[in-house]
């Protein structure tokens, strides 16, 4: 059976990991390659690198980082953050990234989704959607969640599926950072409306939250950052607990 996936997300700035990462036995906690290798050994199923560099020079270092990750890590990884052109995606894939994730740029120019899936295949096109529930309505937000739009989450997700997205990474802004669990109701609705995999993001705080998002939320994968980086939830233990709850995972 296809397993549910556990995906640590690393924020990258100027080629280095940001936010505190609290790993033992790590020579350099700021080195994305070291962290990626450690996560691969712990049983992470995939990795996501989110580039939050503000400058062009900073972004340039990401390509070099992608190359080094591809060289040394034997599990798949996605690169996202500030990607808005076919050329940029080409460069990232050439360096060995398996998938790219696009977010605001897809909202601004939806044809980008078609262009990428036609040229590189749906399998490498992840569309990330940040949305917030306001008065019962899930509205898409841009630029890391800072700019609200009138776009409905479910309509947008359906549209990008039709345009060739291979996967949706949905972050609930109502849940992100709360550690109170994932947005399972919206996730389940996405899973029922769409026929491509859905990655849950935002709200992971304990093991039960992962169990809930794979059962109630019908998610195909769950992404988290701090609970993994600070060792609050070790991935091997998380997977054993999921297995005990009859959730198919790779052990």
């Amino acid at each position: 059976m296809l397993t549910k996936r556990i995906i640590p997300c690393l924020d990258i700035k100027n080629g280095r990991t940001v936010k505190g990462v609290n790993f033992v036995d790590l020579r350099d906690a700021g080195d994305p390659v070291e962290l990626a290798k450690q996560y691969a050994e712990q049983g992470a199923d995939e990795l996501v690198f989110l580039d939050i560099s503000a400058t062009l020079e900073g972004r340039g270092t990401t390509l070099d980082m992608v190359l080094r990750v591809a060289e040394q890590v034997n599990i798949p990884f996605t690169v996202g953050g500030g990607i808005s052109s076919v050329e940029h995606v080409d460069a990232l894939l050439q360096c060995g990234a398996d998938k790219v994730s696009i977010n605001s740029s897809a909202v601004k120019r939806p044809d980008l989704v078609n262009e990428l899936s036609n040229k590189f295949g749906s399998q490498c096109v992840v569309v990330a959607i940040d949305a917030k529930q306001v008065e019962g309505q899930w509205k898409v937000h841009l630029a890391g969640g800072s700019i609200p739009t009138d776009i409905d989450l479910f309509e947008w997700a359906k549209e990008v599926e039709n345009r060739g997205a291979g996967e949706i990474l949905f972050t609930s802004m109502n849940h992100d950072g709360t550690k109170n669990g994932f947005a399972n109701e919206a996730l389940a609705k996405l899973s029922e409306t769409l026929n491509i995999p859905i990655i849950a993001s935002g709200g992971a705080g304990n093991v039960q939250h992962f169990v809930d998002t794979f059962t109630d939320g019908k998610s195909d994968a769950a992404l988290a950052a701090s609970v993994f980086h600070f060792g609050e939830i070790p991935i091997p233990e998380l997977k054993i607990e999921l297995k005990k709850n009859n959730i198919e995972v790779r052990l």
Partner: protein, 197 residues
């Protein structure tokens, strides 16, 4: 050991090259027929859409060369599918090495299948030391139907051929280069294969 990865413009070949490098083998990326013919082992990769990949093969004349190769050849993902007779994706005629056809998954399952699934009923030296029900990383919307060349099976809505073998031709639907230590072992097995006439 001279290893050539066929470079015809389709797919993430860097990852495959790096995976062999981790095993201590420097693979050459090439679309040059002489270089491919002279290799000890050939990897035929592929990611993307079948008909456009086949078009690229034809433009470089590799469509006629590949089926004549005598050394061990490993098709990965779309590479494996292109070695089959026909693919529903873009109604594409394949190279006809494997006597089976490629179909799209039904919409009863999420398409693409993306993630880790198990391979079982393993036959072939390619899987030496790999245990039954080992997890491999897969990303695909189309699958190869079973035939008597099936050497590994996977379930995803349907039970299909996740690996095939015909004489010196091997094909795997999964990505050994992205399947952790176990995937690496399969690539190592491939490097050790002897030519059988």
């Amino acid at each position: 050991m001279k290893l050539v990865i066929i470079n015809y413009g389709a797919g993430n070949i860097k990852s495959i090259q790096f995976a062999f490098k981790r095993l201590g083998v420097d693979a050459v990326l090439s679309n040059n027929p002489e270089e491919i013919l002279a290799a000890d082992k050939v990897v035929f990769p592929g990611v993307g859409e079948a008909s456009s990949a086949m078009q690229m093969l034809k433009e470089s004349g590799l469509d006629t060369l590949i089926p004549t190769l005598k050394q061990p050849v490993l098709g990965i993902c779309l590479g494996m599918q292109l070695l089959c007779k026909h693919s529903e994706e873009g109604d594409t005629e394949g190279l006809g090495v494997f006597q089976t056809n490629v179909k799209r998954f039904s919409n009863d399952v999420k398409v693409p299948q993306m993630g880790w699934n198990v391979i079982k009923d393993l036959k072939s030296d390619l899987f030496k030391g790999i245990k039954e029900n080992e997890y491999m990383y897969l990303v695909h919307s189309y699958y190869a139907e079973h035939c008597n060349e099936t050497i590994a099976k996977t379930d995803y809505g349907i039970n299909y051929a996740s690996a095939l073998q015909h004489n010196n031709f091997y094909g795997v639907q999964f990505h050994p280069e992205k399947s952790g230590i176990q995937g690496q072992k399969i690539l190592e097995n491939f490097l050790k294969l002897e030519v059988k006439s």
